[in-house]
Amino acid sequence: MPGQQLEPGISLANRYLIQEVIGVGGMGAVYRARDLHFPNVVKLVAVKEMINQARDPLVRSTIVRNFEREANLLATLDHPSIPRIYDYFSHNERSYLILEFINGKDLEAILNETYGFIPQEKIVYWTVELCDVLHYLHSHKPEPIIFRDMKPSNVMINQRDHVILIDFGIAKTFQAGQRGTMIGTEGYSPPEQYRGEAGHLADIYALGATIHHLLTKRDPRLEPPFSFGERPIIPINPSVSPEMEKVVFRSLQYNPQDRYSTALEMKDALLAVIKKTGMLPPEPAGSPAAVSAQQVIKPLWEFACEDEIRGSPAFSSGTVYVGSYDNNMYAVKSSNGDFLWKYPTDGGIVSKPVVYDGNIYFGSEDRRLHVINARLGQINWTYYTDGPVRSSPCIAESHVFIGSDDGNMHAVNTLSGRRAWQLDAGAPVRSTPMVEHEYVYFGTEAGELYCVDFSSKVRWRYKAKRAITSSPVVHKGNVYFTSMDATLYALDAKTGWVVWRYRLGKASISTPCIAEDTIFIGAADGKITAVDIRTGKDIWSFATEHQVTGSPAIYADSLYCGSVDGHLYCLEYRTGRLRWKFRTNGPITGTPIAVDGVVYIGSNDHRLYALSA
């Protein structure tokens, strides 16, 4: 900020008593002041200050001229959405505008303070008023006035919820240069502004950009210019109606002639949105198309166990294997859901079975790792730990690695069924280990991520703030996992250095799923989120109606993920758009598996479902 701000208590021109700074701009501050000409009432005014520090006389005079132009312009305007001007004067290098004081907040502040999204109906009404004031400016005689700087921070919302356009200072200093001239407010500006031909359709574009920002909370100044088309609104904010999205994108057309031809036409389109949606709260998650599609989704077959299926199924050569809290491991024919065999343990099974060398490996609440013949369901061997086994096995180099609530990671020889080693991890291990490049990775309920070599020597440990129940996934030299501390972590697999962290809305035990350099993850806030693996930034997120504890699975160009709301969701994985959802009669806590055009998912309604993928 150039120069010194005025201290509260100073009076300007023996009339305006400065109370406090209410805003800071590029060339000076804006203050709230009291007009002392009205001693018996408190009349507040806004004092807009401009400090001219330019050394070049030409630049200096341009700045002064622009400031005067703003004053003269405001003096000729009369509209409820435009602040009135009372006075204008200069003092040394400082010039002042005395304006109507607006008791309210600008849209940028409102956006920052709002948790979640601002309701669409509020935004529609504000936009209608903005169209009105733009129409007023654009029909100004003798010359239309182009506002040129529409953006959330230039729109105030007063206490009666009406909009006021502020900052008519076109006082942008252009320094002609061979390079780097930055024009207008990048991000909100239309393409033609770069060519220096900003007409009234430029204001329509910038209004569309402002509304897009309000609806999506994605700041266009942090995105490449003219990239709104790459950020469809509904996948980001499903409460926006398709009609509203259409209005916004029409105003954001690259070619000016493809936009609304006047602000009035845009206003009419918005009134039609109001009429169409009746301003009722929009339908929660899922467009009408998805709802109708939902009725079409019928399972190919379903298979009932005697208790909840909390874990995830596995598939191998025509057979689906799934554990249940009725203590059994089931084998079901994948083509028709026919029962093949069941194998009883002495505890509930949440562990996901692994098929290896003709055997099924899985843990049970009965503290054991069970190894049974995949074809016949007969016991091969079991291995005892000192606590319930909720972790799932990982098999590598003829050894099975599995965690237990006894606080150990166990490495067991698959040939002999004997322990190779166990490592005391200090807390229950429910996370499923992953083996990559001779290192074993797993999380603990104490929040530590271990990297252990094949001789059980700890290579490194990373401490998250809360439990790591999620299973680490190693991909291209990084290890990814979530924690109950509501963070998705990317660590260097060799050293454990944090490469990036992504903040989730709530705790997560979901295991990352990776496809095409994108990580898909669920969290207790009910969201399924896609995060860019290189930048650690989100690409889209989709809200389900309850916690997402299982993991997404990718098959073809779809993402399948269950939610505790009881649905299995099928999304387009590149955009997060809903394709269909299928309702089960209980929470889904496990992860689906998709093979040969069929997706299999277990539900706490005791059933295993097969659906066409």
Binding site: G177, G180, Y254, S398, R418, D453, V499
Partner: protein, 303 residues
């Protein structure tokens, strides 16, 4: 399976006093200790290290240099592990704005000191602890510090900035503007790791103009993002695993706008060292008219 048995026999021979056959503990076998022969690979410097060259020229048509560059290469070898650390920055100050050279110089100094303080100094402490923050966050803060420093010290000034941080196997790139980072894989491939924040590049991406039109576009020097310009401000930051081998090239537009990618790749391939390659690249840019300041940093990756 085969390895398991080999290892199993191995242990038996080494421990002749082991009692019963069944009692012998087993464990998974690391690959490097297996008996299979590794493919012979070309000789590499030991320990693995980064080898770096750089070159700079004001060009043929400018009387002063608004580019700035920074290189820092370190190798830390001890009995536990080897840590390769390198930090490389190119900044191209915006001409036409006051003090382009001041902005680029503030950018590299602020960024470098921030990264060294937060990341490198802790590495040298007696009990090295990884920092709390992630590599991306540390780079992000470095860029933001530089952005604030420019805004404060040269208001209105601006610069590009392309920085590469190499730590172990991680390569983290922070980027604003139209300087570039390229990955040149041994001989064959050259790939830009950065996306120019220039108006013309955006118009090309949108299909509004062709790359040929972009090369002669009157606004080809207009950036939509630069350090010191705009608020809020965000850099592109991403992290990738360092390739097994190859080169990382950082350069200002004074190089890439006049020497094409295949030529850059050829010069790297034909030079005996990164220093030589950098000199030849700068010479090539000057030979092509040298319309702008030229900066190049070339890093040969270990492996």
């Amino acid at each position: 399976m085969k390895r398991f048995i080999e290892k199993f026999r191995n242990e038996k021979i080494r421990n002749p006093k082991q009692p019963a056959y069944e009692e012998i503990p087993t464990r998974p076998i690391p690959r490097e200790s297996s008996l299979t022969q590794q493919e012979p690979s070309p000789p590499q410097p030991e320990p693995p290290q980064l080898i770096v060259g750089c070159a700079q020229s004001a060009g043929k048509q400018r009387d002063h240099n608004e580019d700035a560059l920074f290189t820092l290469t370190t190798t830390l070898v001890n009995d536990y592990n080897d840590i390769t650390f390198g930090l490389y920055i190119v900044a191209d100050g915006m001409g036409g704005h006051q003090h382009g050279e001041v902005a680029s110089s503030i950018a590299i100094r602020t960024m470098a000191s921030s990264i060294v303080r937060k990341l490198y100094t802790p590495l040298l402490s007696p009990k090295p602890n990884p920092p709390e923050e992630s590599l991306l966050e540390i780079m992000q803060e470095g860029v933001q510090e530089a952005h604030r420093a420019i805004t404060k010290q040269v208001p209105g000034g601006g610069t590009t900035l392309t920085a590469a941080l190499i730590l172990g196997n991680q390569m983290t790139i922070a980027h604003v503007g139209d300087s570039r980072a390229y990955l040149i894989e041994n001989g064959s491939q050259i790939e830009a790791l950065t996306r120019d924040h220039s108006l013309v590049n955006r118009l090309v991406e949108l299909g509004q103009i062709t790359t040929d039109e972009a090369a002669v576009h009157p606004q080809r020097n207009v950036l939509y993002r630069a350090l010191g310009q705009g608020e809020p401000f965000d850099a592109d930051i991403n992290s990738i695993q360092m390739p097994e081998s190859g080169y990382l090239l950082l350069c200002s537009d004074g190089l890439w706008s006049v020497v094409n990618e295949s030529e850059l790749q050829r010069l790297v391939k034909e030079s005996s060292s990164p220093e030589e390659a950098c000199q030849r690249m700068v010479e090539a840019a000057n030979a092509a008219g040298g319309p702008d300041n030229i900066s190049a940093i070339l890093i040969r990756l270990p492996g």
